[in-house]
Amino acid sequence: MREETIYEHLQREGVSRREFIKYCGMVAGAMGLWATPVLSESARLFGNPDLIGEVIRALETKPRLPIIWLEFQDCAGCTEALTRSQSPTFVDLVLNKISIDYHETLFAAAGFQAEEARQRAMQAYAGRYVLVVEGSIPTGARGVYCTVGGRSAVNILKEAAAGATAIIATGNCAAFGGIPKAKPDPTEAKGVWEIVTDKPVVNIPGCPAIPEVTAGTIARFLVFGTLPELDDLNRPKTFYGTTIHDQCLRRHFYDAGKFAGTFDDEGARNGWCLYKLGCKGPTTYNACPAIKWDGGLSFPIQSGHPCLGCSQPDFWDGGGFYQAQSVPLDRPTLEAVGIAAGVGALVGAGVAVANRSQKKRANEPEAETTGRD
């Protein structure tokens, strides 16, 4: 029997053709198609590329993409962020209407029923489903720090990854270990790509990950059947190609040397640059300033708080959140400086004494030297 296409599935959900076309426009926009080098280049060469048409054709002809969403060591903040997206939105379309089959946090089942549902979904869509992982995976004490239904997170992940066609790690925890990996890292938390090494893992880091970025990456796979171009940390270049600093609405204040010194001084009230207050924007790659949060309302820097660098590895241990980036991460203690100075001075004094005694010996009377001989 022919499998139901995404469009047919949406029709059954009560989505009209007009709404469907609007959705396709949203998908094309959110996927950052115009920012995809090959497509934008073809657009330049051939005039008007029908990018929305591409999306429409794909959704009309392709079967829906099943998603299995696992949660490990995390706060479920990434899921919370998804559910806070306003409806009907692109996120809602991709994740709720056409994709998610199994989501531990969101669905009603619990206990053994939930485990059975996961197994059923994995068997039914073996080799076809997209695995989305939220949360880090503990490897210490043979993975005992995070177990579901008596099985460790490592085991569940490996089993689910084996049948997945693509794997997406959403949030900093799943991508790089996140907060559970912060020193002293008692659970020896790892990101998905450190556990699953035989398949490409797309990292969508953030704390939480931007819902539109997660959904956009899924949508891209849904439409084109391929993963987006990734950077050296396996993040989609479309969304993680530019630093927060380079997109920042306060950037001109940085260039002009106007900085907020505290959270309530004149600079802060005037919306000046937050570099002095510890902004990690210069070394952080993400799409926050472009996509923003709450339907494009704002993002941390716009709201007056420095960027924490939450889409970078080990952001929790990358210096204090309110410590400027030019400040060294490790500084010697006063005792260490004292000891270093003491050692230097001692060696200097020793060499000086040795030199003087050598000089003294060299200046001793000739007769005395002869006498000793």
Partner: protein, 225 residues
């Protein structure tokens, strides 16, 4: 190791070790200079030592360096005087009056100070870099300076130049990603910190030693050099 881990290493443990080597090395050099001693002068003092030191500083630090025609250096080799002056001015402003650097000092010393606008700091940094290139060319083109140039002098130049250039590139986001340039800048700074005690660069301390000693001698003898 990716660039982020590299950056954490050079901003963290390597910087800490470099700073300790810098402190130990400078303490060693200071002790060596202090314990050199000098010949005892038994002649009665003809003038005030304090006045001599004051005059020495007024001329050597505050006035003379900025009046070209009284300097032998200017008459002998104008490039050394002009480019050297521009380089030292730029370096001083960048290290002490640049916002990012002041914050680093503040974290080490516990107190901060007002800084200059980045555009001014930037202009002087660029000037210092151009001056360094001029000084390098001068090193090879001027017959006397060429004779005074050895591997140590070139290494001094290279270590300082790399720190300056990577810092400038980082500020302007030139050619490489920010974290790459930040990492390279910190490596250059760490190497510089380690190299300083073994080089002629500690003249930023010893210059004041020599001005003081000369001032004392001149004051005692009541002479105005």
């Amino acid at each position: 190791m990716d660039w982020n881990s590299f950056l954490r290493f050079v901003r963290g443990p390597l910087f800490e070790v470099s700073l300790l080597v810098f402190v130990a090395g400078l303490a060693y050099r200071l002790l060596r200079v202090v314990t050199l001693g000098w010949a005892r002068n038994r002649a009665p003092a003809a003038g005030s030592r304090v006045v001599g030191v004051g005059r020495s500083y007024a001329k050597g630090v505050i006035a003379w360096p900025f009046i070209p025609w009284v300097k032998d250096t200017f008459r002998g080799n104008a490039v050394t005087y002009l480019a050297g002056g521009l380089f030292h001015l730029g370096l001083f402003v960048v290290i002490l009056l640049g916002t990012a650097h002041m914050l680093a000092w503040k974290s080490l010393l516990g107190f901060g100070w007002p800084t200059l606008s980045p555009s001014i700091v930037d202009f002087l940094a660029a000037g210092a870099i151009v001056a360094m290139i001029a000084l390098l060319i001068n090193r090879f083109s001027h017959p006397v300076v060429r004779k005074l140039t050895g591997p140590a002098e070139l290494l001094n130049w290279l270590v300082v130049f790399l720190a300056m250039v990577t810092g400038y590139m980082m500020t302007h986001h030139l050619f490489f990603r920010y974290e790459v340039l930040f990492g390279l800048h910190m490596v250059a700074v760490d190497v510089l910190l380690i190299w300083i005690p073994f080089s002629a660069i500690p003249h930023f301390v010893f210059y004041f030693f020599s001005r003081t000693i000369h001032g004392v001698e001149h004051g005692r003898r009541a002479v105005t050099p």
